[in-house]
Structure formats: C-alpha cells, structure tokens
Subunit: 225 residues, 2 copies
C-alpha cells in the first residue's frame, strides 16, 4: 500500500466484449435463459445494445467455457445439463475443493484464518436474507478465500467454470439444504478445521458438504427427468 499504488489510475480496461460476456454469463447463471434456448445473434445485439462482432466473440468465449453449445449449423444454444454431467461436476469439485481446503488448512496463517472466519460470517449473514443470490455470492467468496490462500489459482478457475455449468442447480441446492439444514454447519466445520490447521478434517468436511449437495442435486435432476 505505498503511494505509487494510490496514484495509479486504475483505468478500467472494460471492453464491450468483456461486459457482454459478463452479462450473458450472468443471465445464463441466473436462469434468464434456460438450457436449450437459442441465442440468436441479432436479438442479443438488440438486447445488449452492441454490434454483432461483440456478441459473436462473447459467444465464442462462453462456448469455450462450456456454458454455450454451438450446434453444427443451428447456431448457439444454452448448454443443457443432465444428471450425468452434474454428477461428474460434483465429483471433480469434491477432488479439487477437498484438496484446496486441506492445503489451506496446512498453510493457514492467522491472517488467512481471519479471512476464512470473515467469509463464514458473510455466509451466516447471507443465510438470514431472503435472496438466494446473497448466499450464492457469500459461498463463492468463502471458497475463493480457501483456494487463493492455498495458492490453487488454476483449480479455482476450474471450479468457477464448473459452477457456471451447474449454476442453476447450485442455486436450487443452496435454496434448500444449505439454507435450511446443514449447509452453514458444514461451512463452520470447514472453517474450524482450517482454524485448527487440520488438513484431514478440512477435506472430510468439504467432502461431506459436497456429497450432500450432490445428493440434493440428483434428486432434483432425476425428478425432472
């Protein structure tokens, strides 16, 4: 925090493209577009107020992210999600998040523990609000602390991308189990394990949390067909 930082003009490098990607991703994650919905370029141009170039490049980006699928000649659609995919996503998250939590617990300094505690408090605060998005954001922030403090930046990228794919599902599971029952308790166990520098306990707590979330997701998805 020296003065050079303060003087630096943080000229936002916001390209229209980056904004469009964010808007579209948010819209998909928020469920504004359903899986299978067509993303008609010129319609999006109107809705976003930008040109086709911008929309097309944004779609390419989301395509590589796995949020959008481009059928051979039919144009882009919002990626569909079935239980088999969701199962794989939860399995991968289980590996990566357990590993990150263990690594975080292994190296956690007092400062990191304070960040984790603060993020946990954020979850508990969001738990009291009626809006699921607050809980969603708070949970994301909690895991971000864990991943980044463990130095697992690439794994965090991957997890975020995976969460994008199952975002609607995640919003649903957050709205049921996590909110009502064991979610905050699991988070507290994770935070406690990190506070105690107990990697094995942290990993176990993460696995328990994800196994439960996956089970809820399975019930939701298989119920819908």
């Amino acid at each position: 925090m020296d003065q050079t930082d303060d003087l630096r003009i943080d000229h936002a490098p916001l390209t229209l493209r980056a904004l469009a990607v964010d808007r579209l991703r948010s819209a998909i994650i928020a469920g504004r577009f359903q899986g299978g919905d067509r993303l008609v370029e010129r319609t999006l141009c109107d809705q976003l107020g930008v040109s086709r170039s911008v929309v097309r490049e944004a779609i390419r980006y989301l395509e590589a992210e796995g949020l959008v699928e481009t059928a051979p000649r039919a144009g882009p659609i919002v990626a569909r999600l079935d239980w088999d995919q969701a199962r794989q996503v939860y399995a991968i998250r289980r590996l990566l998040e357990a590993d990150a939590a263990a690594a975080c617990a292994r190296v956690a300094s007092p400062a990191v523990k304070a960040d984790v505690a603060s993020a946990l408090a954020g979850i508990e605060a969001a738990f009291a609000t009626p809006d699921n998005r607050d809980l969603y954001a708070a949970t994301t922030a909690f895991y971000r602390v864990i991943f980044t403090s463990a130095g697992h930046h690439i794994a965090w990228e991957i997890v975020q991308r995976l969460n994008g794919r199952i975002s609607r599902l995640r919003a649903l599971t957050l709205g049921t189990t996590d909110r009502k029952l064991s979610g905050p308790a699991h988070m507290a166990r994770i935070a406690a394990a990190i506070g105690a520098n107990d990697p094995e306990a942290a990993a176990t707590a993460v696995r328990a949390h994800l196994d439960e979330a996956a089970e809820i997701a399975r019930l939701l998805l298989e119920g819908q067909g």
Copy 2:
C-alpha cells in the same frame, strides 16, 4: 451399427472458425509461437487466409481456454508459463488422472482392458519412433481411453485443456524421462493395474508417473528462470 449409420454422410461441420482454432492451438502447442509472442490479428489473417472476424473469434476461444492472454490494451499474446502454474497443473492432473484410473480399474470390462492394452501398445510403438509427436499423441490416446471408459468426460475435457497450457513442457518431458526411462514402465503399470481391476494400484501408478513428470518439468522450468 445399423445401416443408417453407414449411409450417413458425416458432413464435417467444419467451420472456418473451428479450423482456425485448431491451427492456432496446434501452432501454439507445437511451439511455433512462444509464450509472450504477440498474435497480431491482421498478420494471422494473412497466414490463415481468413478474415479478421474468424481470427478474432478463434482468439476469443483460445483465450477462454487459457492458451492466449489478452492484455488490457496490448492485444492477445500467447500465454506464458511459469513453474508455479505448471506445479498447479500437475497437482490437478494428479488428482483427476488418479481418480479416473481408479474408476477405470474399478469398472473395466474385458473390452476396456483390450482398449487399454491396445493404447499401451501404441505408446510402445511410438516410443520407437524419433518423432515426439507420435509419443505425445499415443500418450493422449492412452489417457483418453482411461477417462472415457470411466465416464469421466468432463474431467477429460479439463485435463486436455490443462495439457494445452503445459504442452511445450509436456513435449519436453516426454522427450526426456518418458522416452528414456520410466515412462513406458509407468504406463505399463497403470495398464496392468486396470487389467487386474485394482483401483488403488492404478491410482498409485498414475501418481508416480505424474510426480516424476512434474519433477522433470520443475528442473526444466526453474533452470530457465
């Protein structure tokens, strides 16, 4: 395999964009572009013989893949790779590949075992050729069998993407250790564990292989600075 399949003309949905992405990705993986090299749009238009739109969309795709970085105002460059990133990549591969090998060993049918054995033979054959690319391709095919037969399609996507990031590194490690010493032996151990339906042994063999590859990579990268 009914006749409709045989009659179907598999009209490749090859868009120019897809071709451009493949070309660029291959060029980067093959080392034709070094990390940090600028990707000047109009130059690529000439080299690929396509218009700027196609080039730009291809770059967006590769950007989301992590092979290309777009600096705020400097335009796209080939992503750089340092040991910290490579370390993370090997750690993630270790988790995903060990899990996939274990899952594959758990469920492997005689047909899967035959595929694995065949892929192993491919590695040993490529081992005898002077071109590293053959070994690269054969190794990729080996792991593809493992991942897809375990149903870990999303994990395979992730691993492929990660491998893209460390591709030059991977080519180097394949060219040293894997070729000369333990590489094929490790692969044989993995295949044997799958053949014996022994998940734990398969996972252990994968971890041993990757730990060695990561160590070679570390020496290479830290040596270069």
